[in-house]
């Protein structure tokens, strides 16, 4: 028996990021506490390097390596670029956030890079094994990050909840995987896919397996009724960690659904389509309605996330390539606006966190620019046009109508109208209410402000010119 080394080039970005993460961990030990921002810049360098490598080695069709465990295709490349950018945004906002609270530790940045690595593996997963590996690497990094402020009881509680429920979800996923393995005798997604295609509709165990997989994915995405951890974690985690959790992992989760359900179980589409539709409809309903009752802005955004996840599921549930593309567009643009929203929240907070919506009172008087950015983002999330959120919803609705789900589309838009209310309330607080005078004065001079502005303006730009990104999504999913 001879060992044939796998082709390494397709996995070059992952290998690079892993190496860098390990190296930075060592370097960080040798740095003084005052120099920890060096770690931050090194981590940014690792992500940038990964981005460049992805760019340089990408674009030559589908390549499979490591005995089928690793897939490199156009979709993976686009999603990874999204993850790099979101991760880099999470790092830069975290640096300011931690510095203001004197929490700067090198581990924070390195953990972020490991989370990114986990997501990259998920996006490129070719088998259940790499799916699970990537997922756990991501989840474990995030558990630690949520608990990063160890003196905060809220954070610790959130981390515990996240960990317990996350472990439960991983268990569900593993159980589903084991059933699929039992039925098909393989963990390779393509082999499984072919087996399911051949006899999926006859095999009860496969349907059971899919059900557990969907439950696991629902947990990770935070779809109703598996959403309980989302509001608590969003609220409890340090805002910079919320930013990270709310952004890039959604891209990875989307990739997971694409790999596991669309590629691995297309033969059972009729089954998971129904499940996803139910999850989606429930998420949109509950997310939008409960968000109205929230006074804490991070909690409100958590419920808003749940409703957006519903839309992402709707696109996938429509079951057509256009639907997948619309979901991909939705996820990418949603992540963009999430980074910007939490970025603005971090910037408006300074030493004291922006916790309640009322903390934004009179923002237009204190900082018209920040208020304007927030206005763009809220309106985009509400789905008002000339902002990218509209096209995301539009694309999903269009694929639904094309596949004959007109009723579901009507339901979704109706609840979007209800959802518009709580976004409007944020705008109301910022623009129509006068401040009490004890709010934080915002002085804007740092590079984070530029990043927040650029991401928020990208929401506006993509709203005026969504064509290129839309075409990219359509092209990569086909």
């Amino acid at each position: 028996m001879t060992f044939i080394p796998p082709e390494l080039l397709p996995a070059a970005p992952e290998i690079f990021v892993l190496t860098m993460a390990c190296v930075i961990l060592v370097i960080d030990v040798c740095l003084n506490d005052e120099d920890k921002t060096t770690t931050h810049w090194l981590c940014q360098g690792a992500l940038l390097g990964g981005l460049i490598l992805t760019w340089m080695t990408g674009g030559s069709g589908e390549r499979i390596t490591f005995n089928g465990h690793f897939v490199r295709d156009a979709m993976a490349d686009v999603l990874k670029v999204g993850i790099f950018l979101a991760g880099s945004g999470a790092l830069i906002f975290a640096r300011d956030y931690l510095r203001m609270r004197k929490l700067v530790r090198g581990e924070y940045f390195v953990l972020t890079v490991f989370a990114v690595l986990g997501m990259m593996v998920m996006v490129s997963a070719g088998s259940f094994l790499s799916v699970y590996l990537g997922l756990e690497l991501l989840s474990l990094s995030l558990y630690a990050l949520v608990a990063f402020n160890r003196d905060s009881a809220v954070s610790t509680e959130a981390a515990m909840k996240y960990f317990v429920l996350g472990a439960l979800a991983s268990g569900m996923l593993l159980y589903g995987i084991s059933m699929m393995y039992g039925a098909t005798g393989s963990i390779d997604l393509r082999t499984v896919g072919n087996a399911v295609l051949a006899e999926g509709n006859k095999s009860l165990i496969m349907v059971f397996g899919i059900a557990f997989l969907v439950v696991g994915l629902g947990f990770k995405f935070g779809a109703v009724p598996f959403h309980m951890w989302v509001p608590d974690v969003y609220q409890g985690a340090p805002t910079s960690v919320t930013l990270l959790i709310g952004s890039a992992p959604k891209i990875a989760a989307f990739a997971l659904v694409m790999r596991v359900l669309v590629e691995g179980a297309s033969g059972l589409q009729a089954d998971w389509q129904q499940m996803l539709l139910v999850l989606a409809v429930l998420s949109i309903a509950l997310g939008n309605v409960v968000a109205i009752a929230q006074t804490n802005i991070k909690r409100m955004l958590a419920y808003s996330t749940i409703s957006h996840v519903g839309f992402v599921f709707l696109g996938i549930a429509s079951g057509s390539p256009d639907g997948y593309a619309s979901s991909m567009f939705y996820v990418l643009t949603y992540v963009l606006s999430t980074v910007a929203v939490f970025g603005v929240i971090i910037l408006c907070g300074k030493e004291r966190d922006v916790e309640n919506i009322s903390d934004l009172k009179g923002l237009n008087d204190r900082s018209p620019w920040m208020a304007f950015l927030m206005l763009i983002l809220m309106m985009s999330m509400a789905g008002i046009p000339f902002l990218v959120g509209f096209y995301a919803k539009f694309a999903v609705l269009q694929s639904l109508v094309n596949e004959g789900f007109v009723g579901v589309a009507l339901f979704a838009v109706l609840l979007s109208v209800i959802g518009a209310f709580y976004y409007l309330r944020v705008v109301k607080v910022m623009y129509f209410d006068k401040g009490d005078g004890d709010e934080v004065h915002i002085e804007l001079a740092s590079d984070t402000k530029v990043v927040a502005s650029v991401t928020a303006l990208a929401v506006l730009f993509l709203g005026v010119y969504p064509s290129a990104l839309m075409a990219l999504c359509v092209a990569t999913v086909r």
């Binding site: 593309a325 509209f390 109208v417 129509f432 064509s467 839309m470």
Partner: protein, 504 residues
């Protein structure tokens, strides 16, 4: 040379980009912001004039067309063009915005740059609504317009502004999302978002009815028609003067425009079979809302209700054509109704704008909108009083003013359809006169009972100019409506012929 310029794009984007520039001038230098806003508004108005002078009145085809692919994945195009229906409304928009900018000159002191920018951006978006020939482009402008209006009412409005503006936003948003689904469905059927292709699209009766209802929901909220009108009085009362003027003069017209651009030509059979619904709602608006206006104590609320009643005439004019076609099969009679509705829209744009500006003039001095706080204004503000009386007469539909033309044409057309429709519609001549003249009587004439009325200063040059321009417009359109009806003629005839042919 002018015809080579992308005039429509220029009139859309000049105010939007100008508005952004005004934002950057900032609230710290209000004088600069005001001047720049005025320059932008006037420039836009001047840019829109060639649309009228270069307009070919002999054809119903779209003119000044522009076509660029926009979102190729969904075949959405940046397709602009105007016909006889939209061109007058584009001009109305650019004209009114200039007045609104001047009207806010001294009155608005809080965040001047943002105020001016909001109106300029809104102007561009509203022109976009009228000029869009792609359904999604239309929808995008239609929805985007909500944001600046939401802010205008919310930031510069009265005490209950938050309630009013959120109600306004959610009502309109609620109405329009159904239209989005209808548009998506038609794309699914036709493979295109071109409005003109939707006109030709064959649809079954059930489909037509559902699509019609979704359009009706979107546009009835905007017009606003009887059961979904309740946001308007709130929004008007709380909005600053400029906001009220734009709302009444332009945004309401978008609802009416939607009926002639979408509902009638796309779903003619559904329109014909459900015309009783629209006619009924219109007549309720004319009669019942007219009565409601009579008892109002708040001047702005009174004018808001009068707006609803007048817009009832517009929708009545559009839909009475089916009654006419059924009873006499006269295409020219049907055309008269639609033309009357359109003339009424333009005229109402001038008159309601003028009425709200008049109330604004009083409010700026006394800070009250209650009728009982006035009385005998003519004694201290004679020039203003004569303007207000003139606009009051126009609102009541006195011959010689623009208010008469549209109402007369619609009533005339209604007679060809049914005597009773015409009878009920004609009640507006009594009711309109009653509530308007009673308002004038209580505010302008009589003894001066309040001290603050005795101290009133007459209007200054700025206010005089605005009101004079509007007076000229009201009288001009009233005495010589032919330029407007000429522009409308070809498009109206084309629409009537199109609608008369069943799609089934």
């Amino acid at each position: 040379m002018l015809s080579e310029l992308p005039l429509l794009s220029l009139t859309i984007w000049t105010p939007i980009l100008g508005g952004i520039a005004v934002l950057f001038v900032g609230d710290d230098s209000p004088a600069k912001a005001r001047r720049l806003a005025l320059v932008v508004a006037v420039a836009t108005f001047v840019l829109s004039l060639p649309l009228w002078t270069g307009f070919d009145v002999t054809t119903a085809a779209m003119q000044f067309g522009e076509f660029w692919p926009w979102i190729s994945a969904f075949k959405i195009n940046y397709h602009l063009g105007v016909d006889g229906f939209s061109m007058p409304l584009v001009l109305l928009t650019t004209f009114i915005t200039v007045l609104v900018v001047i009207a806010g000159w001294e009155v608005v002191q809080y965040r001047v740059a943002q105020y001016m920018a909001a109106f300029l951006i809104m102007e561009g978006l509203m022109i976009g609504v009228f000029a869009a020939l792609d359904a999604i482009l239309f929808y995008v402008f239609f929805e985007a317009m909500l944001i600046p209006m939401f802010l205008v009412i919310g930031i510069w409005g009265g005490p209950r502004r938050v309630y009013a503006t959120i109600k306004f936003f959610l009502y309109t948003f609620f109405g329009s999302v159904f239209m989005l689904i209808a548009l998506l469905y038609m794309y699914f059927k036709s493979g295109s978002f071109e409005i003109l292709e939707f006109h030709q699209l064959k649809l079954g009766m059930t489909e037509q009815i559902l699509i019609f209802l979704s359009f009706m929901l979107a546009f009835a909220v905007k017009v606003p028609m009887f059961p979904v009108h309740t946001w308007l009085p709130d929004a008007h009362v709380e909005a600053p003067t400029g906001g009220s003027v734009v709302l009444a003069a332009i945004t309401l017209k978008i609802g009416g425009y939607g009926f002639v651009r979408f509902a009638l030509p796309i779903t003619p059979d559904a329109s014909a079979s459900l015309d009783w619904l629209i006619i009924g709602m219109s007549l309720i608006a004319v009669v019942y809302i007219g009565l409601v206006a009579l008892i109002q104590q708040d001047m702005k609320k009174l004018i808001a209700y009068s707006s609803i009643a007048h817009m009832g005439f517009v929708t009545l004019g559009f839909f009475v054509m089916f009654a006419i076609l059924r009873s006499t099969n006269s295409l020219s009679g049907a055309a008269l109704g639609i033309q009357g509705g359109m003339v009424q829209m333009v005229s109402h744009g001038f008159i309601s704008g003028a009425m709200f500006l008049c109330v604004g003039v009083l409010y700026d001095r006394v800070h009250s909108r209650q009728i009982q706080d006035y009385g005998g204004v003519a004694n201290t503000m004679p020039v203003f009083a004569s303007f207000m009386v003139l606009f009051g007469f126009a609102n009541a539909g006195l011959p010689g003013t623009s208010g008469f033309i549209g109402e007369f044409m619609v009533v005339l057309a209604s007679f060809k359809g049914s005597f009773w429709i015409a009878f009920l519609a004609a009640l507006t001549l009594i009711l309109g006169a009653a509530y308007t003249l009673w308002l004038i009587k209580r505010v302008v004439f009589g003894e001066v009972v309040h001290k603050h009325v005795a101290e009133l200063q007459d209007i200054n040059t700025r206010e005089f100019t605005i009101l004079l321009v509007l007076a000229v417009a009201v009288l001009g359109l009233g005495l010589w409506p032919q330029p407007l009806t000429d522009v409308l003629q070809a498009s109206v005839n084309n629409l009537v012929q199109h609608v008369a042919v069943s799609k089934l």
